[in-house]
Symmetry: C2
Subunit: 405 residues, 2 copies
């Protein structure tokens, strides 16, 4: 069994890096805060004698040797956060992995296969789009060139920022054979809490499509220009959003639509904007459902173009289809939960995770624990120590199950 108090203390120590006044964390990918978080993790791993390596995407691999030369059993997640991030999203998965290694070290337990805790780069997709880039390049979904050239809003690239913070590794960012992989995470939604269950046995991840939608209008003067002479991108934006929100909600209780970012150019109050750019996120657990949402968007774009005389450009930025995890790994988690006697349920993740890409090259599943009010990507994100400990115990058992003792 893991040491829940030690896990909690490490979470709270990490949370001081990039701590916000409202009690959350702003430790965005490849910032100075991210570097401090990585340094702290590396120091902790060194203290228990792990070997640490880094690849060209800045993914960090901390390995505890096994008794045999087998492919490792992996676990891990990310240390980067949203700008209004919390203390647990991602960090919990990394530090739960560390706690597993600490527990084995303390009890001098040697596994057959080596164990590896991974910190994946830029999982959030907040500073650099898309999400899960570090694991995506490693798993072969994206090229290294693509990964290095993603830019933030200020135009800085991942490659340059990795170099700047000293985390551009030498190792190729390419998957090696893996025996099995697990990722512990807070649910980030309300289901476990509402149903008073401690563990979510995660069977897969819903599909995600990201779009940059650009509404092109004609700049003109706010005063003398008659309303009917205008091509107003804000009118187009509000009409499209109004209709799309309605269609998404009517389609299915499982469908999701989020407009996370908006910007008008040139952004002068008394000028109709030349353009408005919307960052749109659509999700659905089934491929057909996600395709339906995609078609609704395309259809409405045509309608709104006709109704407003504007031109609307839809660029798909990212498509992460629904993923089903590995049956053996799901079964290993299920056995661990039952052996430990925690209340549980099977569930599909609403959030994307590094496990999505890891699952392309290795058998994978995930372990969820409840978070308060289902709230995440919010500075008030919180989770109970006893739930975090329970999830970590499940992780320990599942990893031992696959690694062998």
């Amino acid at each position: 069994r893991v040491d829940g108090a030690r896990l909690w203390e490490s979470l709270m120590e990490m949370a001081q890096i990039g701590a916000t006044p409202a009690g959350g964390c702003n430790r965005q990918a490849l910032t100075d805060e991210d570097r401090q978080g990585r340094d702290l993790f590396a120091r902790w791993c060194g203290e228990i004698g792990c070997e640490i390596r880094m690849d060209k995407m800045g993914n960090i691999f901390a390995r505890r040797a096994g008794s045999e030369e087998l492919p490792p059993v992996m676990t891990g997640s990310h240390l980067d956060t949203q700008p209004t991030g919390g203390k647990f999203d991602g960090v919990y998965g990394v530090l739960a992995g560390l706690e597993v290694l600490r527990t084995l070290e303390q009890n001098q337990i040697k596994t057959r296969a080596p164990l590896e805790v991974v910190v994946w780069t830029n999982e959030e997709g907040a500073r650099f789009s898309p999400a899960m880039i570090g694991s995506g390049v490693w798993a072969g979904e994206f090229s290294l060139e693509y990964g290095h050239t993603r830019t933030d809003k200020a135009g800085r690239t991942i490659g340059a920022e990795l170099q700047r913070i000293g985390y551009l590794g030498d190792m190729p960012a390419e998957a090696q054979p893996v025996t099995a992989a697990f990722e512990a995470h807070i649910e980030q939604g309300p289901i476990l809490e509402k149903q008073e269950q401690v563990i979510g046995v995660v069977t897969g991840v819903q599909g995600i499509r990201w779009y940059d939608v650009t509404f092109h209008g004609t700049p003109c003067h706010a005063g003398p220009t008659p309303m009917e002479d205008r091509r107003d991108p804000v009118q187009a934006l509000s009409l499209l959003c109004e209709k799309l929100y309605a269609q998404v909600k009517a389609f299915s209780v499982d469908a999701r639509m989020t407009c996370g970012d908006l910007r008008a150019e040139p952004g002068s109050r008394n000028t109709v904007p030349e353009k408005v750019v919307l960052a749109l996120d659509l999700r659905h657990p089934q491929p057909e459902g996600l395709e339906h949402l995609h078609q609704s968007l395309q259809q409405l774009v045509k309608e709104v173009e006709r109704a407003t005389g504007t031109r609307i450009e839809v660029r798909e930025e990212w498509h992460s289809p629904p993923v089903a995890f590995n049956e053996d790994c799901i079964a290993a988690v299920d056995r661990a939960v039952r052996a430990l006697g925690y209340s549980h349920r099977k569930m599909v993740s609403g959030a994307g995770h590094d496990s999505v890409y890891v699952s392309r090259v290795a058998p994978v599943s995930m372990i969820f624990v409840p978070c308060a009010g289902g709230l995440s990507h919010n500075e008030a994100e919180s989770a109970e120590a006893r739930h975090l400990e329970a999830g970590c115990n499940v992780l320990l058992q599942a990893m031992l199950d696959r690694a062998g003792v």
Copy 2:
């Protein structure tokens, strides 16, 4: 009669300062480009022997002495532009005034009252809100403290930027007695062009209200959070805009609504924004009409708050009530137009102008000329040399009318 070719040449020379690839101007208030524009104007005034003074708001007064110690007859406008500005908005009024002085100088005509050409600071309201700040402080509508502390999006103040570009004058920014004032301007709307008229005799300016509307939501994760659990500020924004556009259009063909700027915070694609801020501009020629629009906004805000569970904060940033110009000045323009034989009509301005504030302390009216397609605050803004010359001839005659020869 003025020299239309010389006027056109000066306009084209000024247009090179801050010229954009698309053929417009980006010479926003108190930037380096604005300084260059001011320097050029000052040099031109010096060449015809004008005395130049500057007040604490950076307003520039170029005076040609009269034969008597009378209050001056003023004209002028602004040299700052929108970010997607054209070559004529404001600049025409300043350089038409210069052309009047050049013409009198060339013909060695001495007026009884002195003539003054003024460059007002930050008329556009694009870089610093609100519009017409230089003339507003001078006329006593705003305090000097208020004027100096307005900030741009990067947090720089008017006071600091005036100092930086060397245009923080010594003279108090306070109105002195004025015999009469005129301002020549492109119409910035389609009426004169559609009706094939050369001169608009401007009888007043419609009312304007500016608002910062902040939609407060709750940040949460784009994936696992059910749609019905969200407080989404973009849903609130799109619902409010949809309904307000409809009400404004239904209310009156004279009503205007513009959403010139939009911003989401923190602006991360997979997080429902914490807030969205909208810069809103409402206009109507009648005080009751403008009040009606204001009430529609307040009413809809309540409805949308109820429908979306968000909180919506409406801060009024600026209110410029409808203005009626001085009868004698309107008559002087009317006489000049008739004497010169130009086709013309009376009209109300849809745009705010420095004359709005000047009219609080002096008898004022304005002279409009057509612009192509009624387009302004757009890099494609354009006007015909013959129309600009006609407006300048009207300005010359109206000024001589009030100043006496």
